[in-house]
Each structure stands twice: as structure tokens, then as C-alpha cells.
């Protein structure tokens, strides 16, 4: 079993570091543009002169700390530190749309505090990101927030992916931006394709797929839960996210990959094992002496009970003997005295006996009991009755008196019983002898010809197994209403219930229903009744087991694997490779997750979201759609520079896959080049920072006066911004 156990432990939760607020002196009064990249997962912010953004995860939690009972407002990574805060986390984004403005306000507060701003209002022009064609509601509220609450002098919106594209294709200033390309942006909750021609982002031709990293994480989590329904610990979204980032990759040819992974060996080779933390159950192992002590105690108790029982028996015995003595003395007295005096005295009645005969029988019973008990105490064997004698049976009825007649009847009954018992005993002995003879024969045969005997038994075993399988199949077929077996059953039921079953010939004779005369007729009820086969099954199982036992004992080539039990419980090799089973006691094994196919399955959903239930075209199809709206010449310009950006674009094998998707639909002489952003996570911010340094930036923003005149929804249309509700630049 040379398997490559790629067991990785889950990373421990990292403690977030407190970031120090920067000093503001650098920027005081200078009016350096403030860049905020408002992403669904991370909020990146900073002044445009810094090299890189400060980044925090974009989440807010209002949490009441337990110990000091103070309400705390935590932001970003700080939420990880407090366990209770995690349950109350709120993000300003819901999917792709900005909705929760309280949270956004808190986020922005944090950003500004970190930057050290302490003026009564923000005195810097701000450049913020928006989603592609973000809803006007979100935009108006953001503008309102920025202008009214923070009093920024001007605010400009842009689309993050286009900015990232800009950064990677920076023209040397001051030449205006005029590159062409197709920007594919992988965001947290969506993926979008935007064509850029002549430096202008053509938003009207852009398309967005509602599948992003967060949906992929959810899908992976769902798959894991389905695969391991009884997993001991809960798997959180953070862990699934980590799994997604580290283990999942795109496959260049998904159907080919599946065909290769069908083979259990390759599936095993491709899996990654994740070990979750587990706790060993504390087994109370009693030491040897404790066990011995407990056993001793039990035995003591048993012995005491036995002694008590024996004493009780002794007492009863003594009592019986006394009674016997008393009654014997009575009898002697009776014999001594004459009958008349006996009757007069009514001694008998005092004793409670009606009659002499009763007295005699009572005495006899007691004597028998005593004898039995004494014998049992002596040697514990069962009494063997000597054949009791039945003298009266031989005497014909006429000679006997009434009493004796009764006696005779009694004796006849007893004789019949006794004879029956004898017969039963004899039959049992005969059976035993037969069985012994058969076993002897089998042993001889086995010793003579092992192979032949073994094969005979194996055939028997197969026959029984086949019968069981047949029966199972028949039962399954009966459950299905339309199968042939079920229809035959209905037909027989209908026949039985019908009245005119009697054949015409018999009708002349009297019209009686002769159904039950033949015993075989009753067998039809067995066929109809679905519940009946259970008794048959048990018999079969018993014989099967007996046969298997014999085979196991004597035949070296018949191992446990051939038995019916193991055959029926066998799981195919494929399923075992897919989800390996661990024994019950293996706690460590049970808290492992094996990821084999899921690694590619999740990423494949980007190219075909139908797999995961999202009714949308996949990335390849969308790119095809977008490209088809352009002329060939423009198409050529676009595909020469396909640009991939965004967090999830870091998943491996993405670029080869996209190449494989695009190459077939383009004419062969068109050069196709796919480029990934240098730093997918923060390139957008860097692009924005660079843009803010140019002059164009000042023309593009909406100033406070313009805001007050137009409201929050109007923006100016420029090459990097959205188009909806925008007016063209002068």
C-alpha cells in the first residue's frame, strides 16, 4: 500500500497583528488623493503616494464583550481574535451589491483612523471602486455617505478590474491610456468579462457571471458535507476557503481528467488528505486487579443466593417429612381402630381428607417427592421410571366395579402416555445414529477426495446464495408497481377473489368450489403474501452458514472472503478510493477529509455553473459571446491581450485552461495571449494610485457642488468608470 499520504493539517488560526495608525503629517493639507478599493472580501485603502495599500478584511462586528460588558466595535482581522464576534459579523456587501451602509461607515471610519486623519473633514479627493454597473441605489448611498458625512471635496468611481489592467499596461506618461484587451475579472461573488478598446472600457458589451469565490467555497462545503455526513467536527467557511485556495485547481480537459480518474488507483494517487483536529476518547481502562475484584464480588453473590435457596429447600423437606409422619400415624391409627369408631370420630375430616383413598394417595405423593428430592441431592440424575405396571388393563370391563373402572381408565391414559414417550425417545436415538453415520460418511469422503467434496459443497453454497439473490430481486421487483412479478401477483389475487373460478363441468355436479382439496393450492397464498419469505430466508441463511463453516474448516482454498457475508458487504474498489472507510475505533481516521475529485469539480463550475445549480453560461461561453459582438479586426486586438485579474485568478492552471477554451473559436492565425496580473490582489489599488497621480483624475471626479446639484447617482463617464447614469465628460 504505497500510497502517498498527503496529510496536511489545518492551519492554526493566526492571531492578527495590530496595525499602527500612520502619522498624518505627510499628507496634511496637501490634498493627496485617497484611494479606497472597496472589495467584497478585503478593503484596501491608502494614499496614492504609498507603495501599497493597507488591507483588511471587509467585515464589521458589533460585539458585547463578556468580561467587561463593554460594547466593542471590531473591524477586519480583529474579528478573528474574538470568537464571539464571529457570529455577529456583518459585511457591507451582500454578494456583489453594497447594501449595509452602517457597516460601510464603520469600515471607512476604520480606514481613516488608520491613516491618521484628524481634520474635521476629509480634505482629500477620493477614488473609490464600484462593481461593474453597480445599482444606482448603492452608488447614491455611497456618495451620500462620502459627501455628507465625511465632506470629501470630490469623489470618483471606477471599476477595479479596469484599473488593474491599466496598471499592468502602464503607458509612459503623459501619453493617454490606449491599450486594448479583454479583461477577465474574478471577484468574490461574480466573474466579469469587460472588453477594452482604445483605452476605453466598453461597459455595454461587458458580461457578468454570478459565480465567484464565495459561491465556489459554498459548493465545496456542500460537497464535503454530502460526502461525509457523519463528520465529527463542523467544517467552517474559513476552512473551506483555505482548502479552496490551497488544493483546488483548474483542469485543462475536464472530461479527459474524469476518464483518467475513473480508475481507483489514479484516484487514490490524486487525493489530498486533510486531517482535522480530533480528541481521543478517554477509555476507562480498569486495571487487572479491578476486574478480578469485580468478578469475585459477583461470584460471592451467586454463592450466597445458592446457599439461601438450599436452606429453603431443606426446610421444605423437613416440613414434608413431618407431614408424612403425621399422616402415616393417622393411617396406623385407622388400621388399629375399627371402622365405625373411625367414622364417628371423624378424625379424617379433621385432617381434611374426605376419604381413605385420598389419604392413601396423599401419602404416596409425599413419599415419591421425598424420594425424588433425596435422590436429586444424592446424584442429581433424573429418575428413570421403571415401566409402571398396569394390572387393571388386562381385566375386561364387565368384571370391574365402578372404582376400578375409573382406575382402569386412568391406567389406560398413563400407558398411552408412557408408550408415546418411549416412541419419541427411540426416534431421537435413531436420528442421532443417522446423523452420526452421515458425518462419518462425509469425513471418509473428505479424506478420500478433498477437492471433489469441496467442489460439491461450494456448488451447494452457490446455489443457496443464488436463491437468496433471486428472492431479493423478486422482492425488489414486487415493490415496483409496474414490474412483471407485481402484475402476476395482482392477477392471482384477482383470480382468487373472483367467484366464477369453478369450471363449467363441475357446475353441473353441484357447484362446489374445490379449491382447497389439493394441498398444493394453498401454496398460492405464499406467493401473494409479500411478508412470507422471511422464514424461508432464515432457513437458507442457516444452511448457508453451516455449509460455509464446513468449508472454512477443511478447505484451505476457501477463505472468509468467499463467504456470503463478506461478499454482500463488499464495496467496490471505486467507492473505497473515493471515500475510504475507517474502522470505528480509528478516531484519527474518522476526522480526515479526502479530497480527490472535488479539487477539480469545484473549479470546473466556473466554466459550467450548471453543475452547481446556477443557471448561467460558463466563462468560456461568455467570452465567446462577448467576442462575437466585435468585428474580426477588433477581435484580433482584443485577444492579443487577454488579462486575468482578481483574487481567485490565483488558482493554478487557469491560464492554460482559458487558452484551451479560446483557441478553438478563433481563427488560427490570430495571436492569442493570456496574461495574469502581476499581483492579482492589490493591482487594482496600485492602478488606481497611479491613475490618481495623473491630471485626468481631477477631471473625472464628482465635486461636492456637482453632487449637491445632481444627487448621488450621476457620475461622469470616463474610460475606467461605469456607464449607468453617467454623463459624458466635456
Amino acid at each position: 500500500m504505497a500510497e502517498q499520504l498527503n496529510i496536511t493539517r489545518l492551519p492554526p488560526l493566526t492571531v492578527p497583528s495590530l496595525s499602527v495608525a500612520a502619522s498624518y503629517d505627510q499628507h496634511r493639507g496637501k490634498g493627496t488623493p485617497l484611494i479606497i478599493d472597496n472589495g467584497s472580501t478585503h478593503l484596501r485603502f491608502g494614499f496614492c503616494t504609498s507603495n501599497g495599500p493597507r488591507s483588511q478584511s471587509n467585515a464589521v462586528a458589533k460585539y458585547k464583550e463578556r468580561r467587561t460588558n463593554k460594547p466593542l466595535l471590531l473591524f477586519g482581522d480583529g474579528i478573528e481574535a474574538e470568537g464571539g464576534a464571529k457570529s455577529q459579523v456583518k459585511t457591507p456587501w451582500e454578494g456583489d451589491v453594497l447594501l449595509n451602509f452602517d457597516a460601510l461607515e464603520n469600515a471607512l471610519d476604520y480606514a481613516f483612523i488608520q491613516l491618521g486623519i484628524d481634520t474635521p473633514s476629509i480634505e482629500h479627493p477620493v477614488l473609490m471602486t464600484e462593481r461593474l454597473c453597480s445599482p444606482l441605489h448603492s452608488r447614491s448611498l455611497t456618495s451620500e455617505l462620502m459627501f455628507e458625512q465625511y465632506c470629501v471635496p470630490s469623489l470618483a468611481f471606477c471599476v477595479d478590474s479596469v484599473m488593474s489592467f491599466y496598471y499592468n499596461n502602464l503607458p509612459s506618461p503623459p501619453v493617454p491610456f490606449s491599450s486594448d484587451g479583454l479583461v477577465v475579472s474574478f471577484n468574490t461573488a461574480s466573474t466579469s468579462v469587460i472588453p477594452v478598446l482604445n483605452g476605453k472600457g466598453l461597459m455595454s458589451h461587458a458580461k457578468r457571471i454570478p459565480w465567484g469565490a464565495s459561491q465556489a467555497t459554498d459548493y465545496l462545503l456542500k460537497l464535503i458535507q454530502l460526502k461525509y455526513p457523519t463528520f465529527p467536527t463542523r467544517v467552517t467557511t474559513m476552512q473551506t476557503n483555505w482548502m479552496l485556495q490551497n488544493f483546488c485547481e483548474f483542469s485543462i480537459d475536464y472530461p479527459g481528467l474524469l476518464r483518467r480518474l475513473k480508475d481507483p488507483l489514479s484516484m487514490r494517487a490524486s487525493e489530498r488528505i486533510l486531517q482535522f483536529p480530533f480528541t481521543l476518547p478517554t477509555i476507562e481502562e480498569k486495571t487487572e486487579e479491578e476486574l478480578a475484584r469485580i468478578a469475585e464480588r459477583k461470584r460471592e453473590q451467586g454463592r450466597k443466593l445458592q446457599e439461601i435457596a438450599a436452606k429453603a429447600r431443606q426446610e421444605k423437606l423437613a416440613q414434608k417429612e413431618n407431614d408424612l409422619q403425621h399422616m402415616l400415624s393417622l393411617r396406623e391409627r385407622r388400621d388399629e381402630e375399627s371402622k365405625k369408631e373411625w367414622a364417628v370420630r371423624n378424625t379424617l375430616q379433621e385432617e381434611g381428607f374426605d376419604d381413605d383413598a385420598e389419604l392413601d394417595s396423599a401419602i404416596k405423593k409425599l413419599e415419591n417427592d421425598l424420594k425424588k428430592v433425596r435422590k436429586k441431592d444424592a446424584d442429581g440424575d433424573e429418575l428413570e421410571d421403571e415401566p409402571p405396571s398396569f394390572p387393571l388393563l388386562d381385566v375386561p370391563d364387565a368384571d370391574l366395579e365402578e372404582d376400578q373402572l375409573k382406575e382402569k381408565r386412568k391406567q389406560r391414559l398413563m400407558k398411552a402416555g408412557y408408550e408415546a414417550r418411549e416412541r419419541a425417545k427411540r426416534e431421537k436415538e435413531r436420528e442421532r445414529e443417522e446423523r452420526e453415520a452421515e458425518e462419518r460418511r462425509e469425513v471418509e469422503e473428505r479424506e478420500r477426495d478433498l477437492a471433489g467434496w469441496a467442489s460439491k459443497l461450494k456448488k451447494e453454497q452457490e446455489a443457496i446464495m443464488n436463491k437468496i439473490k433471486e428472492r431479493n430481486r423478486r422482492r425488489a421487483a414486487l415493490n415496483d408497481r409496474k414490474s412483471a412479478a407485481a402484475q402476476a401477483r395482482m392477477k392471482s389475487i384477482a383470480n382468487l377473489a373472483a367467484d366464477d373460478r369453478v369450471p363449467k363441468k363441475r357446475r353441473k355436479g353441484g357447484g362446489e368450489d374445490l379449491f382447497g382439496a389439493d394441498d398444493a393450492d394453498w401454496a398460492i397464498y405464499r406467493k401473494i403474501n409479500n411478508a412470507a419469505p422471511s422464514s424461508d430466508e432464515e432457513e437458507d441463511m442457516v444452511t448457508l452458514q453451516a455449509v460455509e463453516q464446513k468449508l472454512l474448516q477443511h478447505d484451505p482454498s476457501f477463505t472468509h472472503e468467499h463467504t456470503h457475508a463478506s461478499l454482500s458487504a463488499q464495496r467496490s474498489a471505486l467507492l473505497t478510493a473515493f471515500r475510504p472507510q475507517y474502522d470505528d475505533g480509528d478516531v484519527e481516521g474518522k476526522s480526515r477529509i479526502h479530497l480527490n475529485i472535488e479539487r477539480w469539480r469545484v473549479c470546473e463550475a466556473w466554466f459550467s455553473p450548471n453543475m452547481a445549480g446556477v443557471d448561467s453560461a460558463g466563462l468560456g461561453e461568455i467570452m465567446q459571446n462577448v467576442l462575437s459582438r466585435f468585428s474580426d479586426q477588433e477581435k484580433g486586438r482584443l485577444v492579443k491581450n487577454v488579462f486575468v485579474t482578481g483574487g481567485p485568478s490565483q488558482l493554478p492552471e487557469l491560464v492554460p485552461r482559458m487558452q484551451a477554451m479560446l483557441r478553438p473559436i478563433l481563427p488560427p492565425e490570430m495571436p492569442l495571449e493570456i496574461v495574469r496580473a502581476a499581483d492579482p490582489m492589490s493591482d487594482a489599488w496600485k492602478g488606481m494610485a497611479d491613475f490618481a497621480k495623473t491630471d485626468e483624475f481631477t477631471k473625472v471626479g464628482v465635486t461636492k457642488e456637482e453632487y449637491e446639484e445632481w444627487g448621488g447617482e450621476r457620475i461622469k463617464r470616463w474610460w475606467g468608470g461605469n456607464w449607468n447614469s453617467s454623463i459624458p465628460l466635456e
Binding site: 451589491v97 481613516f112 451620500e144 474524469l258 453543475m611 448561467s616 453560461a617
Partner: protein
């Protein structure tokens, strides 16, 4: 986060209107507005045409992209069938539950699933059987 925030405008009263609207509400609001807009524009165009008696130069209406309009259309390609349990190719379908499976060993597994588990598998694929 309890540091002072001097940059905030103390006179700014929070607009109560901005209670977090539901995503669906926002999108429907957008859609309605867009429809009203389009109606209005079409009306204007008609008026303009009536007045002139001939089709005025219709400005090439670049479709204003909105959040809803750039959403990707449903897929037109034929769907591949994958096994619901393993993820391999799943050419066969179980008539009782509707799950797709890869081969007969997976079918054995499916036969042993409870109804709730089968529904979960189907939900992962996006098929939600309502009454079953």
C-alpha cells in the same frame, strides 16, 4: 475602534431612509426605474417622429448597461451529465430519486440513501424537488 473620529461631520443626521434594503428590493427597484426610463424615452422618440413626420436621426442608442442587463444569459451549450455522488461522468439516472450515477456500485450506494440525503444531493445540483 474607540478612537476619536474628528473627521465626521457632527451635523450630519443620518438619513433614516437608508435602512438596509434587501438585495431583491434594490434590484426590483432598479428594474422598475429602468423600465420607466425606457418607456419615457420611447415616448419621446415617438413624439419626435410625429412632429417631424419622418424618422429623426435616431441616436444610436448604446444600451445603457445596468446591473441586470450585463448578467450572463443561460447556457446554450448541451449540458454534460456528471455523477451526483462521485463527480465522475454520470450517464445513468436513477428513476426513483432522480440522482445521476457513475456505475452500478454507486447505484448500490444510492439505493441505500435515505430520502433526506437524496434531496441534499439533488439540492447541490440545483434541482429542488418540492413534493417527494
Amino acid at each position: 475602534m474607540h478612537l476619536p473620529r474628528p473627521f465626521k461631520n457632527p451635523h450630519y443626521t443620518k438619513n433614516v431612509n437608508r435602512r438596509t434594503k434587501n438585495l431583491k428590493a434594490v434590484l426590483t427597484h432598479e428594474r422598475d426605474r429602468e423600465r420607466a426610463d425606457r418607456e419615457r424615452r420611447r415616448q419621446e422618440k415617438e413624439d419626435a417622429m410625429e412632429v417631424d413626420g419622418e424618422p429623426g436621426d435616431s441616436t444610436p442608442e448604446e444600451e445603457m448597461p445596468t446591473y441586470a442587463s450585463i448578467e450572463a444569459p443561460p447556457s446554450l451549450l448541451p449540458q454534460r451529465r456528471y455523477c451526483d455522488i462521485t463527480g465522475l461522468e454520470g450517464p445513468y439516472t436513477d428513476p426513483a430519486t432522480g440522482l445521476r450515477y457513475h456505475d452500478k456500485s454507486v447505484y448500490e450506494l444510492i439505493k441505500g440513501l435515505s430520502a433526506a440525503a437524496a434531496k441534499d444531493y439533488l439540492a447541490a445540483r440545483g434541482v429542488n424537488p418540492i413534493v417527494k
